[in-house]
Each structure stands twice: as structure tokens, then as C-alpha cells.
């Protein structure tokens, strides 16, 4: 029971990270109709800049600020220099150009930071464990990640449904030309939305820094999971991103934790471990295939 709650929290934490990644990506998909393979690169940039600032200053808050700033600015620069040329192109061109961006960013980090992975310490004020329930001891840092993610989700909801900027963004998604004719600077709006998306990816990256190793190419493994989230949730839907991220986070974590044990009840233990582990890493793709057979446009298809 304690183990189950602990794994549920771990799943929630992975889900939150995936949500931060997929919120930005789904906006870019939904609003600009652009497929961006390089979204994972901004996660990586966030993690690298965060780890570097943390190592230099010892302050986690500064690391956070640096990572968000770097990922946001890099995102806006990429939007202006490359993505803007691709809005009118077909998806194939977008895939290839952003694939080129991945090459560039991965190799750039290798040139700047070297091949060795960086490690980032948990700040002292978030170190240690907390006893949530009798017998359930959970790291404070992971709990903090969950809280930050939940707060960001609320802020995003507020931004989109309660502010003028959010209204313009939603309008821009349904009819770009009309919004432009009504005097909204749509180019600037797109750059801002893209920057917001990459900033969230940077946030996910810097928060993942103390949990995983910071290394070149780290963005790609999470990018694929993010795609699965978006396909499950429905492209362009932030609500779908929330549901999809939590679903993928939980299925993946619980599968890894419990499938081998489950198989051990009726298979020899070494065989059960390998079958369980391999089925666990495939589980989210199986969920995705199932969702698609049932609803080809995802759980919450956006309307346009």
C-alpha cells in the first residue's frame, strides 16, 4: 500500500514534467500548425543553463531564472530565424528543419559543456524527506516539483481563459487572418506563444536536472513521451495535455514498478523480470494505440 502511494506520487511527478513539456508543444501544434521536433532541445538548454548557474552561484532560484530566461530567449530566436519560415510549409519540411535544429543544439551543448554529463545538486532548503503518511517517506524535492507543476497548470488556465492575451491566442488559433485584420500583431503573438512554450520546456528541464543526469541528447527521450501525451490528449488541447500527461506518467511508472512482480506470479523470476521490464517500457505505446483505435483524434480533439 505504502509502495503503491509512493509509486503513484512518482507517476504524478513524471506526469507533471510531461505536462510542462506537452503544454508548450501542443500550443505550437494547435495554434501555429507546426510540428516541432526540437522542443526537447529547450528542455536540454534549461537543464544545462540551470546546472551551470547553480554550480557557479550556488543559488537554485538564480538557476531557475537563468534556465527559464535562456530557454525562452532561445525559443524566440528560433521562432524568428527558422520557424517563421515554416508556417506555410507542409509538415515534412517542418519535421526536417527541426530535425536539423536537434543536430545543431545537441552538438552545440557538446562543444560548450563537453561530453561528460553534468550533475546538479538539490538546493539545501529542498533536501531531505518528509513523512506524508505514517511509514510513507517522500523526498521534499520531488514533492516541490509536483506543486510547481500544479501551480503552472493553474496559471496557464488563468492566462488562456481569463486574460486578454489568452483570448487573442485562442482567437489566433481559430482564424489567423481575422485576428490580424482586427489589429492584433499576430507575428509578435506567435513569437510570444512559442517563447512561452519553450520557457515551460526549460522549466521542466531545470527541475529534472537534480533527478536525472544533464547530458546532450537528454531532450529526445522525453520528447517522444511528450508526443505520445499529445497524441493521446488530442493535438492543440491543453486540457488533453493535462489528462494525457498524467495518464502516461502513471502508466509508465506503475508499469515499471509492478509489471515484473505481476509476471513473477506465473513465470520464472528471471524471465518475468525481462518480459515485465520490456512490456513496461512498451506500455504507454500500447495505451496510445488503444486510444487511437477508440478515438483517432485523441481524447480531447480541438475543434478546427
Amino acid at each position: 500500500m505504502i509502495l503503491l502511494v509512493e509509486q503513484l506520487l512518482n507517476g504524478l511527478q513524471l506526469g507533471i514534467t510531461l505536462f510542462l513539456m506537452s503544454a508548450g508543444l501542443t500550443l505550437v501544434f494547435g495554434i501555429m500548425q507546426v510540428i516541432n521536433l526540437a522542443h526537447g532541445s529547450f528542455y536540454m538548454i534549461g537543464a544545462y543553463v540551470g546546472a551551470t548557474v547553480a554550480a557557479a552561484t550556488g543559488s537554485f532560484i538564480l538557476a531557475l531564472a537563468g534556465a527559464l530566461g535562456a530557454a525562452g530567449v532561445a525559443g524566440m530566436a528560433v521562432e524568428i530565424l527558422v520557424l517563421r519560415q515554416l508556417y506555410k510549409r507542409d509538415h515534412l519540411d517542418q519535421v526536417l528543419a527541426t530535425f536539423g535544429l536537434i543536430f545543431f543544439f545537441n552538438e552545440m551543448t557538446r562543444i560548450i559543456w563537453g561530453k561528460q554529463p553534468l550533475f546538479m545538486d538539490i538546493p539545501t532548503w529542498l533536501k531531505g524527506n518528509i513523512e506524508l503518511l505514517p511509514g510513507l517517506i517522500y523526498p521534499v524535492y520531488r514533492l516541490a516539483v509536483i506543486v510547481v507543476g500544479a501551480v503552472v497548470a493553474l496559471l496557464l488556465w488563468y492566462l488562456f481563459s481569463r486574460t486578454r492575451l489568452g483570448m487573442q491566442i485562442r482567437a489566433g488559433a481559430s482564424n489567423r487572418d481575422m485576428v490580424s485584420a482586427l489589429g492584433v500583431n499576430i507575428k509578435l503573438l506567435y513569437t510570444l506563444v512559442f517563447g512561452l512554450g519553450t520557457l515551460l520546456a526549460g522549466l521542466a528541464g531545470v527541475m529534472a536536472g537534480p533527478i536525472f543526469a544533464v547530458e546532450s541528447g537528454m531532450g529526445e527521450s522525453i520528447l517522444i513521451l511528450t508526443f505520445v501525451v499529445i497524441v493521446i490528449g488530442g493535438i492543440g488541447s491543453v486540457r488533453g495535455a493535462v489528462v494525457g500527461a498524467l495518464l502516461v506518467g502513471l502508466v509508465d511508472t506503475l508499469g515499471r514498478a509492478f509489471l515484473p512482480t505481476l509476471f513473477r506470479t506465473f513465470l520464472s523470476s528471471s524471465y518475468a523480470d525481462s518480459v515485465g521490464a520490456s512490456l513496461a517500457s512498451m506500455s504507454i505505446y500500447i495505451v496510445m494505440a488503444a486510444v487511437l483505435i477508440w478515438k483517432p483524434r485523441g481524447l480531447f480533439p480541438s475543434h478546427h
Binding site: A97, F103, E220, M282
Partner: protein
């Protein structure tokens, strides 16, 4: 010179070049060129099969490496069972006979293409890209989990397959076998896209609604195209396993799918012969840049973006069109 004539000259020249290459390599004493160009031939085969999907079926698959990997793994697994004289699943004997294993690799890859294609073709556009990607990643993790066949480390073959009348261990022999299969696949594909099937396929790619209105089941044509592409990639995988005498999950990784896509675009989308040029240029560029700097990807990335933005028809288009 008209476009058609240029195209013929280019293809004939390319064919002649590939035929004469082993002698040239021998003459200049650069034997490694034979194995480098064997690699180019095999990647070309995979790229041409992807071009059938993207360039003619309008199916932007980002999971084509899955079929290359399946072909490779079928070859390697049968080799392993033959080598250890232990029947597969207790009943099927392993084999090192190319005439048996290679068709099998093609059939298994085609069967997977049928499965993945039937599911993925329920969607289109951006969904299709991401779903093919996800299925390929699923198979990638499956390969990583195959402890019996090396898991993460991959599986070594101790020699190449046996082919009657040929000595595949001889690099020149193997080179011509690869050249034969590439030419055969090009020929079949060329006939195919010029047939009624090809016309319907292109029609369905540009407007599935109109094709539907003509009373034709467009999705079925796309599925067949997806299967043929998967079969071609499976053959490329079997050849690649033979060339390197090694398979690993890396064959199925999505960066491999991306690289194949780059080769197709670099050479020229929907031109069949273009991807051969694309594969050659990509692999030679990689080889050359890697000689000068270990950070060659930093240059390759921007080159790619520039090609996407400014050279829409690819190298083959640049060479055969005049405007």
C-alpha cells in the same frame, strides 16, 4: 537539354558509376571505398522505399527505421539459432541461407508494416507522423528488452549469410548483390508509380476526398504502398545486418528514421532516383566532415535547414530541372 534527357543521362551515369566503382577502388588501391559504397547502396534502398511512402503516398512516416530494424533482427536471430544449432521456439530451425532468410526478413517486415499501417492510417497529417514515430519507438524498446538476443548491446553475426554461387564474405561480391537489389527495387518502384496504382496513390495523397468520390478506396492503396515500403526497408535491414555483421536496437531508433527522411529530401522527394543521390551525399558528407571535426553535426544541422528552406526539389531536382 530537356529535363527528361538530363534525367536519363544522370541515371545512366549513376548506374555506370556504381558498376565501375569496385574496379576503380581496386585501381586506386582504396579498398575501403567498396564497403563505404555498399553502405550507400543499402541506405539508398531504405531511402527509396521511404520515398515511395512520402513522395508518392503522401505518408510522412517518421518510423521507417522500424522496418529496417525488423529485417536486420530477423536475419540476425535466424543466424544465431543456426549458429548455436538451437531451433527457434523449439521447432523452427535457424538458417544462414540468404535465399531463405532474406525473403523471410522481407515478409516479416511487410507483415509489421501491414499491422502498423492499418492502425496508423486511421489518422492523417500531424497525427500520422507522431503515431508512426511512436510505433517505431515501441519496437525499439522491445528490441532493447530482448535479453536473449543481446538487449541493449545488440547481436553479432559471426559471418555473412550463404548465397548459392556467390561468396558474400567477399566485399566485391556483396557489393554487387546490394547493387542488384537496389536496381531491382528501383525498377519495381518505377513501374509501380507509373502504373494505374501509382496514379491512384498520388491522387489519394493530394485529395483523398476526390479519390473517394470516384468510388476508389484510397486508404487501401495507401496501405499497400506502406507495406511495399516496409518490405523494401526490411530487405535493406537484412543487407545491413550482413554488411556490418551486427544488429542493435540503434537500427530502429527514431534518429535513423530521421536520417532516412533527410536522405530522401536531400536527394529529391518523389523522384525515386533522387534518394540514392541523397543517401550518397549524406553519407559522404558525414564521412568527410567527420574527418575534419568531431562536431560535424553542428554543420550538418544548419545545412539541412538551408536545404529545406531553399532547395525544395533536392539535388536531383536541381540537376534535372533548368528554371
Amino acid at each position: 537539354m530537356a529535363g527528361g534527357v538530363r534525367k536519363t543521362v544522370l541515371i545512366a551515369g549513376g548506374g555506370l558509376f556504381f558498376c565501375l566503382l569496385p574496379w576503380a577502388a581496386h585501381y586506386f588501391g582504396e579498398q575501403y571505398l567498396v564497403s563505404l559504397f555498399t553502405r550507400i547502396l543499402i541506405y539508398s534502398l531504405a531511402a527509396v522505399s521511404l520515398d515511395l511512402l512520402i513522395g508518392y503516398g503522401g505518408l510522412i512516416s517518421l518510423g521507417h527505421a522500424a522496418f529496417v530494424g525488423i529485417g536486420g533482427y530477423v536475419t540476425a536471430i535466424f543466424f544465431q539459432h543456426s549458429f548455436e544449432a538451437e531451433p527457434l521456439a523449439g521447432i523452427i530451425p535457424g538458417s544462414e541461407n540468404a535465399l531463405l532468410v532474406w525473403p523471410l526478413a522481407v515478409i516479416v517486415a511487410a507483415a509489421f508494416a501491414f499491422l502498423i499501417g492499418s492502425l496508423s492510417l486511421r489518422t492523417s497529417g500531424m497525427h500520422f507522423i507522431m503515431i508512426t514515430l511512436a510505433f517505431a519507438q515501441m519496437l525499439y524498446y522491445f528490441a532493447v528488452g530482448l535479453e536473449k538476443y543481446g538487449g541493449d548491446d545488440g547481436l553479432s553475426l559471426y559471418s555473412r549469410n550463404q548465397l548459392v554461387g556467390m561468396d558474400l564474405a567477399n566485399d566485391v561480391h556483396f557489393y554487387f548483390v546490394c547493387l542488384f537489389f537496389l536496381s531491382l527495387f528501383l525498377l519495381i518502384s518505377d513501374r509501380l508509380v507509373k502504373s494505374r496504382f501509382g496514379l491512384v496513390l498520388r491522387g489519394a495523397a493530394s485529395s483523398s476526398r476526390r479519390i473517394h468520390a470516384l468510388g476508389i478506396h484510397g486508404r487501401r492503396y495507401k496501405l499497400i504502398c506502406f507495406i511495399i515500403g516496409g518490405a523494401g526497408a526490411g530487405l535493406a535491414g537484412a543487407l545491413l545486418a550482413n554488411q556490418t555483421e551486427y544488429v542493435s536496437p540503434g537500427l530502429l531508433h527514431w534518429t535513423m528514421s530521421g536520417e532516412l527522411m533527410v536522405m530522401v529530401l536531400l536527394g529529391g522527394l518523389g523522384s525515386l532516383f533522387g534518394p540514392v543521390l541523397g543517401a550518397a551525399v549524406y553519407l559522404l558528407l558525414e564521412e568527410t566532415l567527420a574527418m575534419y571535426t568531431e562536431h560535424w553535426m553542428v554543420y550538418l544541422g544548419p545545412i539541412l535547414i538551408v536545404v529545406v528552406l531553399f532547395a525544395k526539389r533536392g539535388l536531383f531536382g536541381l540537376l534535372t530541372h533548368r528554371d
